[in-house]
Every structure is written in C-alpha cells, then in structure tokens.
Amino acid sequence: MLEQVNEKIDVLVAFRKKGEVLPLSFDWDNRKYCVNKVNLVHSEKKGSNKWYHFSVSSNESYFKLGFDTGNHAWVLEEAYLA
C-alpha cells in the first residue's frame, strides 16, 4: 500500500557533469535502500522554495524523494514497499 511518509532522510547523491543529480541510496527506518532506477524527476515551487521530486525504484519498491533547495534537505515523501 502507498504510504505518505514525509520524514527527513540522509541521501547519498551523485552530481554528474551533465548537470544531473542522481540519488544513489538513502537510509530510512534503520535500513539502507539502493536506488536502482530514477523513473521520473519533476520540480515545483512550494512557497518560496524550489523542490525537486525524484520518483525512484529500489528493487520492486517505490519511493518519492523530495529535495528542498531552500533548506538543502531531503525528505522521503511517499513509499510503496513491495
């Protein structure tokens, strides 16, 4: 079932020379999740801050990671655990 999480998390990220930002793995609920695929990226303004949302797969599970460019904080927004 899809779960709304909205918790701050630690994320390991690659900054690539083409300007892409690629989340590689993150820690949540005492577990490390490796990002196998970034399925979609989109951005929006929330208040005065720009957010980037990464819809990613970790094996069969799905996670939506949000990056708040104003606070430089990563948030696990939603999760679907297979």
């Binding site: 399925n39 929006e44 005065s48 819809s55 679907y80």
Partner: protein, 394 residues
C-alpha cells in the same frame, strides 16, 4: 499524449504499470475521473465517470490523486521537444499540441520521419511508459482526427487518398468541436452522420447555428479547416477569465457559498491582473445537486479587476437569492474584457486598494495563493489547484 496523467503516474510508480488506474480525487470524494490508463479504458472506464461508476465496472480499479505540478513540468518538457522541430507550436491543452511543419517538411515522408523522431524523443526524456499519438494532415481538424485513429503510441496520416473514407467512418462527435449538445441539435435536423452533414445545405446550417458555426460545420463535413496553427508565442487573448469549485458537500448554506465565491473572486481578480485585463460582465453560476444549473449575470458601467469588487458585485445578487435546491458547485467568470485598463477609480479607498494590489499579487505569487488574503478568508484553505486550464508560465 496517451492517457496522459495516468501514464505519467505509471511512469513514476512502476507498481501501477499494466494495471487499470484512474486519476481522480480521493476515493469517496465528489470528483470525477480525469484520466484513465490504457488498461482502464479497455475495461470501459472513461474520463468523466464518477467513482462508483468506475467501481461498478471493475471493483479493483486503482485511484490515484492528481499531481498537477508533475504534469505541468512534463508538459513543459515535451513542448521544448516540439520547439526543436518547429517554432510554430500551438499548445492546445495540457497534453496536446499542434505543430506546423510546413516550413520544415517538404514531403509526407519527411513529416512521418519527424513524427517518429518526436515520439522517440518524448519517450527518451519523459520515460519509456509515456507515449504519444501523432496525426499528420493538411489542417488542424484532420490532424486532430488522425491523432485519435491509432491510439495508443499511434502515427496516422490523413491525405487525399484516404480522407473521404476516414470521414465516412467517423461519428459526428469524433470532430473536435462537436459535443453532445450540437450532436442532439443535428439529430433533430435529421443529420446523424458526417455524410448526411455534408449533404445538408450551407444556408440551412447557417440558419440553425449562425453564420460562424454553420460555416464551420459545413467545412468539417468536408474535412476543411482554415484555422492556422497559432504559435504559443502569440497567446490569444481570452474571452473570459474565471474559476469554479465543487463544494465538499451539497449545501444550502449561503455563508459557505458566499465564502467560496469570495475565494473564487479573489483568484479571478488575480488572474485578470496577471493578464493585465479588466472586465465588465460578471457571471456567477452554480450547479445544483441534480446537475441542473442556475446563475446570475450583470454587466457594469465600469471595468473591474479587483477580487473584492467582483465579490461585492456578486454578493449583492446572491444575498437576495433563495436556492431552491442544494448547491454542489459554484463558479465565477468575467467577460467583456479590455486590456491595460488604466482609469483611476473615483473613491479614495478603491484607489488605495489599486496601489496595494500589485504587491499583494507578488507576495501570493512568491509564497502561494492566499498567503495574504481578505480577512473573511482567514480560515479558508487554498482551493485545490486546477489540473485543467493549463497555462504556460515561465
């Protein structure tokens, strides 16, 4: 784009792929389905259906709430793709565009080749699950028809070889611009097919539908359309500006209705000012619980672009009104528009408001709608952002 919102959600969330999914408000809410995935469409679940209708067709249908920011972002992405092929791109809706390729393709083969490259680029940038269907023809009417011929992931050409056979096969409502209301009126004239429409005299169509629509219908039946592709750079001035909102529950409560109208007037006023427009005619309308409509319309002596003024004008009407049935939806729209209206109001408090409004708009643009708001709206939450009515904004 094919089943746009639904396929975008399936692209983002792989666990939804291959399953019947609909994009809609929360299950149990009063919203309708705004998009069905290919799998849901195959089951007969269509846009515009209510939740219980979808469930009655397939009990395990998956409901996904819309994410407007996601769709708008991807729409801007695919428009940028189209702009690489031609500068004449008309954004028809959040998931459709017309491209005038006449300056770039000399032959049909070149047009087909460009279309295939566009499809590949859309999948490369938006994701492998997101597909588009392209129609190629000599005008917008036929290219729109063609784009619906071979969905999903389709590519269809209408030219002089197959135009007549295509027109013979389609229904009247397959034309963009002919909905159920016009279809019923045509049926009442004994016109139930495109072929019959092509045989109907032009003078009689003009008599029934007026000179503009009559000629348009006449042309449609022959696959004729001389409307140019209007580049997104030349935004057509709107004929009206407005907002509507479905209430959480049907209500007779005038205070709740007026509060919603105030919010809609505030949002409409902001939109007018953003487009540097002011309007003279205001329409407040509502839909009752039985889906019939009511409303009131007034044209004023002066032009208005302030939400509060729109509200004061509408309030005076609504307060006297007695709703015979409970109200499900309320809307506001302003027409009879003029651009760059600069006449100063007579009264001092209105002149003060006019000075302050641009700053209020800036704050709300930066921090979100209703960051600063009239005191009456203090407890009002932001009405859900529209998913329809897409506008390109840089």
């Amino acid at each position: 784009m094919d089943s746009y919102f639904a396929t975008v959600e399936q692209q983002a969330r792989p666990y939804l792929r291959g399953k019947p999914v609909v994009v809609s408000g929360k299950e149990g809410s009063r919203s309708v389905i705004v998009a069905s995935s290919r799998e849901a469409k195959r089951l007969g679940i269509k846009t515009g259906m209510l939740h219980f209708e979808a469930r009655s067709i397939f009990k395990d249908i998956i409901f996904v709430e819309p994410d407007g920011a996601k769709y708008v972002y991807l729409t801007k992405l695919f428009i940028e793709i189209f702009k690489k092929f031609t500068e004449v791109v008309e954004v028809f809706s959040i998931d459709e565009a017309f491209l005038d390729m006449s300056g770039h393709c000399k032959t049909v083969e070149q047009a087909i080749c460009s279309a295939e490259k566009i499809k590949q680029e859309v999948q490369r940038q938006l994701g492998s699950w997101v597909t588009c269907s392209i129609g190629i023809a000599e005008n917008k009417l036929l290219s729109k028809l063609a784009s619906n011929m071979n969905k999903p992931d389709g590519l269809f050409l209408i030219d002089e070889h197959n135009k007549n056979s295509v027109l013979k096969k389609i229904k009247l409502t397959d034309f963009c611009g002919i909905g159920r209301r016009i279809e019923k009126r045509l049926e009442a004239l004994g016109v139930q097919s495109v072929e019959r429409l092509s045989e109907y005299p032009l003078a009689a169509l003009i008599n029934e539908f007026g000179p503009h629509s009559g000629k348009k219908l006449f042309g449609m039946s022959r696959g004729e359309d001389d409307e140019p592709v209007v580049s997104y750079l030349k935004e057509i001035e709107p004929k009206s500006v407005g907002r509507a909102h479905t209430m959480k529950e049907n209500t007779y409560d005038k205070e709740k209705i007026l509060l919603t109208i105030l919010h809609l007037c505030d949002a409409t006023g902001r939109e007018l000012r953003r487009k540097k427009l002011a309007g003279k005619t205001i329409v407040i309308y509502w839909r009752y619980n039985d889906f019939t409509y009511g409303g009131t319309r007034k044209t004023f002596k002066g032009y208005v672009s302030s939400g509060m003024n729109l509200y004061k004008l509408s309030k005076s009407h609504i307060e006297k009104y007695s709703f015979p049935k409970s109200v499900r939806l309320v809307g506001v729209h302003v027409s009879n528009l003029v651009k760059n209206y600069k006449q100063l109001p007579l009264w001092e408090d209105e002149r003060k408001m006019l000075k302050v409004l641009p700053y209020l708009d800036k704050i709300n643009d930066e921090y979100g709608e209703l960051t600063i708001k009239p005191a009456f709206l203090l407890k009002q939450k932001r009405l859900r952002n529209k998913v329809g009515g897409f506008k390109i904004r840089d």
